[in-house]
Structures are given as structure tokens and as C-alpha cells.
Subunit: 259 residues, 2 copies
DNA sequence: ACCAGCGGTTCAAATATTAAACCGATAGAT
DNA sequence: ATCTATCGGTTTAATATTTGAACCGCTGGT
């Protein structure tokens, strides 16, 4: 396997709740040799992708990431242009809302707003990576990509996150028809216990799916009335963001055949 | 040299003014073989650090950068906490202001606000990398790092950006005394023609310099009156940001001896 | 005073990286 | 309509880099 991939994979161990990691621990987490991790991290540090806490020598994500994110956002302002739409979703639903972009085999969280209306709410970690098979947003994406792609995306071993996670690829695939019909993917406690997720797809200019917007609620608060209200909010938001990003939703019925 | 370093170096060719680059051209720019660049870019794309425009197959920076930047900013909100101070600087000076973080051998632009008061203003590219030896901010940093570090930072070949760029390390080093005395680094047209720069250092909690804030003005507009006004604004901003980030300015006179 | 764990270094063995030639496809010029 | 140059991408044998076990000195807890 590539060295570059190994180096980049190390960055994924950092999160909002775990912003600093020492050398030995990182090596343990990643399953690489300590010397290897040191060399990789040194390379990353030389380019500013990570930096070291001078006191503890622990690593944390570096300033180069801010710089590069800034460049991307300057030429492709997805986050900024979606923000008012997310805010409207948040205000209308009162629940935690989030915006995800479709990566190679997972979703990248690029923005979210936590629930304002309830003391009990769904919390999110900044910059989480979300699996396709165990989230409403993931299902929304899978449902709208070419079937072959979806099949290969689900071909590996599917990790179970809760008792409710569906790890059988064919069962997931058979759900997708319904997602396509309603335009909304819905799933209960597949990624986190007690969290109910609903999401809709966002499309690029060529009609392919590029991400998803969704609402995350405590499962205990979900009623049919709330669900249908949430569906409306999500459908509107997904279509607004698609438009804001210069995308177009494919004609219904045409999309599965897209190669 | 490391493969990881090569891969990461490719990301630096993307900028606000050049957000998408094709394979062959990137290979030419970087001076690497096309096959090599392809492999490296594929590795980066697999992790979402770059993505390909499906139409043109050109590369652009990817969504993973947004995600990781989000994580860093969530646990170390430097940009957010400095923003009001930058805004005040911008309002008070009427000129373009910027905030840079010190990386391994250069500065990373993490935020800026372009001049509001003048039609002729200094424009900045989002996410530029700035050399230490050819910018006021760079001199501000060099002046406040341990002398040995500054000397090694200037030991390589110093690139000339304009006719005014000083490329002689010892001449730069001898300027630094004055920077330390006044707390402000100042330089005319060292990085871009017609741009006059002034900047002050930002310190970390251990008293080491971690970045700089500065003002960039068209050289033609600089007067002594403006300079002394700008110095005041910068000194205040630098000290406010240092404090906002939990840093402390070292005692004057003690800092050069810090090892 | 000890021990366990830390960050970091070393070097021979193992493995991944490289670059030139080549491919089919595309687009502009003649 | 045909040529030509360039594109993105693939293959190969030759090569340079990566790897990991053992080891270092150091620090903090018992």
C-alpha cells in the first residue's frame, strides 16, 4: 500500500474530542510501527499539516489545513452558500442539521448546526467521517448513485456501530428503491444509539449525487407528524442547495441507468 | 526524498487564482514525472484531499481539507477568535489586513480582510504561502525566534520576488534588531511590486512566536503619518491576538537568548 | 530507586516508487 | 477530412525508499 495513503490516514485519528495525540499512541491506534509513524508525521509536520505541542510533543492538526480549506472555499464556496439554507432548516425543524459531502467511500461532514429548540439534542463532532451504509445521508447518496457503484461501495465488510446497524449489503440495496421513490432516506440508530436520521441527496451539475443534507433527532422524539414535516424541510433544503451549487437533480427514472 | 512530501507539495500549486490543474500541467509545474504525479494525486483523491472535475478530469482541492480544518478550528479556534480584532484593524486602517501562522519555513495565510476605504487596494489570494525573508510578517517572526533558528531559516537560497527583495541573509539578520526594538517589521515591495508591508509578532503560551498580523498598503500611499498610525494599530492587534490565543509576549531582552 | 512508558534513532532486509515508452482519445490546425 | 500535438492513463524493469526490531536517554509515577 502507498506511503502517502498511510500518512493521510493518520490525520483521520484526530477529531474534535481527540485533538492531540502522542507518537506511541498514534502508532498503536493506526497499527503502524512507531518509527514509521514518526517519519510520516515528520513529513506531515514539515508541510504544516500537523504540528507538535512544544510542551507535550503531542501532535495536532496544522495550519496548512486552514490555508488549503480557505483556497477551496474561495473558489468553490459550498459551505458559505449552503449556510443560510442550513440555518433555515435548523430554525424550522428545531433539531440538529448537517451538511455532508460525498468522498471516495464515506461522507465528509463540512457543516452542521446543533438543535436550538431542545435541551436534549443530537451532538455532533466537528469533521466526523460518516460511513455510507450506516447513516441516512449515506443511504441518500447510495440511492442516487449508479447501482454498480453502490454495489461496490457496499462490497467490503460493513462495520456495525449499534445493534441496529444493517450490515447486509443486499438488505441495504433493497431499501434504496424506497429512498428513490420518496426522495428521503430514513434510518433509526444505525450509527449512534438513540439517534434517528433523515436526509436528502444533493446533486452536481452533471446530475450525479455529491452530498446530502439531513436532520438528526433523538429517536424518542420522532413522531409521524414530525417525520412528514422534516421530509418537507429536507426536500426543500436539498433542492435549494443543489441549485445554489449549480447542480441539477436528474429526471426521476433516468438516474439508475446513468453509467 | 519522501514520497509523502512530494504528494503534499503538489497541493501547494493550487490557489485561488488557479483552482483546477490538469495532470500533465501539474507534472510540469512540479517537475515530477507524469506517472508519479498521477499516482500521488490518486492517493490524495482516495482520501478526499483532492477531487477530479468529472468533465475535464482536472484536479482541485478536496472536501477532506474542509473537514480537517473544521476539526482544528473546533479545538483551537484561532481564526474565529482573531476575526473581530482583524475587523477592527481593517476599520481603523482602511487598508488590507492579514493574519498569518508560522509554519516550518514559511507563513500560512489563514485570514485576511481587503481594504474597504480605497478603490486602489492590495489584493490577496486566499491561502497564499508567504516566504519568511521577503515579507514584513516574515521579518516580524524571524526577529522574535531564537537567533540560531532564524539563521538556519535563512540558510537556503533566498528567492527574489521583486527588484527590492533582499536575498542576502546577513543583511536581513542585521535588520532584525530594529524590528525587535520597535516591535514592528516594515518592508517595501519585497514580495510584490508596489506593496508596502508592516507587521507585528504573535506569541504562543511559551513565549515563542507563532504568527504575525500585518497591514499591506500600496507603496504610493505610505506617509510617515500613516506609518505611525499603522504601527499603533498593529501593536494593539498583535497583543490582543496573542492574549486571545492564550499566549504571552516574552520580556524584552530575554527573548533572543531563549533556546 | 525503581520501572514503565515516552519520543526518537539506527540499519539491514523488504518493499514500494520511479520514469520512459506506449496507448487510445480528443481537439485544433491545415 | 486528415494530420498532429497533447491529453489522461498504463505498463515495465531498474531503483531508491520504507520498514520494524532493537536500542537510546529521559521523565513521571510508585
Amino acid at each position: 500500500m502507498g506511503t502517502v495513503d498511510k500518512a493521510l490516514s493518520l490525520l483521520d485519528f484526530f477529531s474534535e474530542s481527540r485533538p492531540e495525540i502522542g507518537l506511541s499512541e498514534l502508532a498503536r491506534m493506526a497499527g503502524y510501527d512507531k518509527a514509521t509513524v514518526l517519519r510520516l508525521m515528520t513529513a506531515l509536520a514539515d508541510r504544516g499539516f500537523v504540528e507538535q505541542n512544544v510542551k507535550t510533543r503531542d501532535f495536532r492538526l496544522g495550519p496548512a489545513l486552514l490555508r488549503l480549506a480557505h483556497i477551496r472555499e474561495a473558489s468553490l464556496p459550498q459551505r458559505a452558500s449552503a449556510q443560510p439554507i442550513l440555518e433555515r432548516m435548523s430554525a424550522e425543524s428545531g433539531e440538529t442539521v448537517h451538511l455532508l459531502l460525498l468522498g471516495k467511500n464515506h461522507l465528509e461532514t463540512i457543516d452542521f448546526i446543533e438543535a436550538s429548540a431542545h435541551a436534549m439534542r443530537v451532538y455532533m463532532d466537528a469533521g466526523e467521517r460518516i460511513p455510507l451504509h450506516a447513516s441516512a445521508s449515506g443511504l441518500a447518496c447510495l440511492a442516487h448513485m449508479p447501482v454498480e457503484e453502490a454495489r461496490t461501495a457496499l462490497s467490503g465488510a460493513l462495520r456495525s456501530y449499534t445493534d441496529h446497524t444493517i450490515t447486509d449489503a443486499s438488505r441495504i440495496l433493497s431499501h434504496l428503491d424506497n429512498v428513490r421513490k420518496t426522495g428521503i432516506a430514513e434510518i433509526d440508530q444505525a450509527f449512534e444509539d438513540g439517534v434517528y436520521g433523515m436526509a436528502g441527496p444533493i446533486f452536481a451539475s452533471d446530475g450525479s449525487v455529491t452530498g446530502a443534507v439531513g436532520i438528526a433527532t433523538p429517536s424518542s422524539r420522532v413522531t409521524d407528524a414530525f417525520r412528514s414535516k422534516a421530509h418537507k424541510i429536507i426536500r426543500k433544503a436539498a433542492s435549494d442547495i443543489t441549485r445554489a451549487w449549480g447542480g441539477v437533480a436528474p429526471e426521476a427514472g433516468n438516474e439508475e441507468t446513468a453509467a
